[in-house]
Symmetry: C2
Subunit: 272 residues, 2 copies
Amino acid sequence: LKQSTGRTAGRLTIIGTGPGDPELLTLKALKAVEQAQAIVAPTGRPNGASSALEIIAQAADISGKQVVEVHFSMQKVRLSGSRHRSVEESWSKAADTVLEFTGQGMNVVFPTIGDPAFYSTAYYLLSTVQERQPGLVTEVIPGISSVGSCSSALKAPLALGDDMLCIIPATFGDDRIRQAIETFDSIALMKVHRCLPRVIRILEEYSLLENAVLVEKCALDGERIFQDIRKAAHEDLHYFSTVIVRKQRMGTAGRFIVPGTGDRNGRNVDER
Amino acid sequence: LKQSTGRTAGRLTIIGTGPGDPELLTLKALKAVEQAQAIVAPTGRPNGASSALEIIAQAADISGKQVVEVHFSMQKVRLSGSRHRSVEESWSKAADTVLEFTGQGMNVVFPTIGDPAFYSTAYYLLSTVQERQPGLVTEVIPGISSVGSCSSALKAPLALGDDMLCIIPATFGDDRIRQAIETFDSIALMKVHRCLPRVIRILEEYSLLENAVLVEKCALDGERIFQDIRKAAHEDLHYFSTVIVRKQRMGTAGRFIVPGTGDRNGRNVDER
């Protein structure tokens, strides 16, 4: 914990926890948790539990560590526009907490669901911490992405051969979604829980409904796979819902999923 | 190893090994290796060593397990077109080997670099195996993707807020790359090792050179980060080279990387 200057200082390590199954943590992330004295974890609701914290608590003994949960506003953030005040306050509060711990020589872990590379609030925190204390030692450990995990659950690739792949939030306007569908071979639409009927309508226009599949709560208890995404239209879907569309299909069978494989436990999908 | 029918049968588990650092294996992948009696691993060259095998051998004791390396032709595969004969033969041979082991009741692991979701040959193998033996129990365990790992090394997100992200092989034609650049906020160009001058020329057209960064051999010995990708143009780049372009930049500093962070070890990039 001593730097070469002799000054005691902790470090901030951002870790991707993967989509939910604690076994999908990396060895490196687990080690970072074990070597940390403090954990600062994000929650989506003011008094809700942190999913990211729950994942690491299932894989490591976190008793004896300082644990602080910080509420991050789910306000939509447009980087090119102005930030909502409650968003700024979330980052500011989380940064305060992190720097208080590192100032005491503690190593801090900030866990974030999935892979920090994809739409993680962790980078807002990192940016804020770096602005306040540029010399702080920081590290980012990648995690299993939600789209990668969906692909594994389906036992089907997101992209293969000469596919062009895009990953976009389904909350985008119709025109941008149409543009993605027209340009790309493989499209992952994240966060479809509130706009599935619209996505279904657009996919119907392109006769791509049969090339689409929906994975809800991938790698979490209650995971569901809808090979006919219309069947999910009237369900109360979880926030972690992803639609994957592939124009090209591998093998000879005209189905998205490799024939005969079913879901991750060998069961056929749509049959649970 | 007994199925409910009483028949002895092994299973095939495809695991993503992550980009190279054995610590980036997941707990689940490590467990699969430990519980396997046989490993069938892909090599890119006829007599070359398997990178995927090397990664798992650093994390687990594989002595005492059957290990077979199978050469997978690197011939470009177009799913919509006909397959090259040597490609078909690779899959066929690998499938034979897998089914021979599972037929003897062995659990087989097939390791693949990165995340199987992204352009992995493992799906050609899975498809072939499933065609021959539809009832075989199979599982796919996701891995840390090379693009996710690059993002972590840079301590910068691939996508944030309302970014639209695409992942494409840089070997595509100029028109498709231009189309991706025009449509998307964030573009990951994989396998740029042989076409970097062309990529630089296209990015120059859009004045996006300063928004681009190149990561070579991410999470492997000899990892290099080129924040000025022009400096990499005359290098003999490794196959694992990725250019990431982001139009929007986070924070106030006009740089791709979060200011003051440097590379994964806290050093500034371009300074090694």
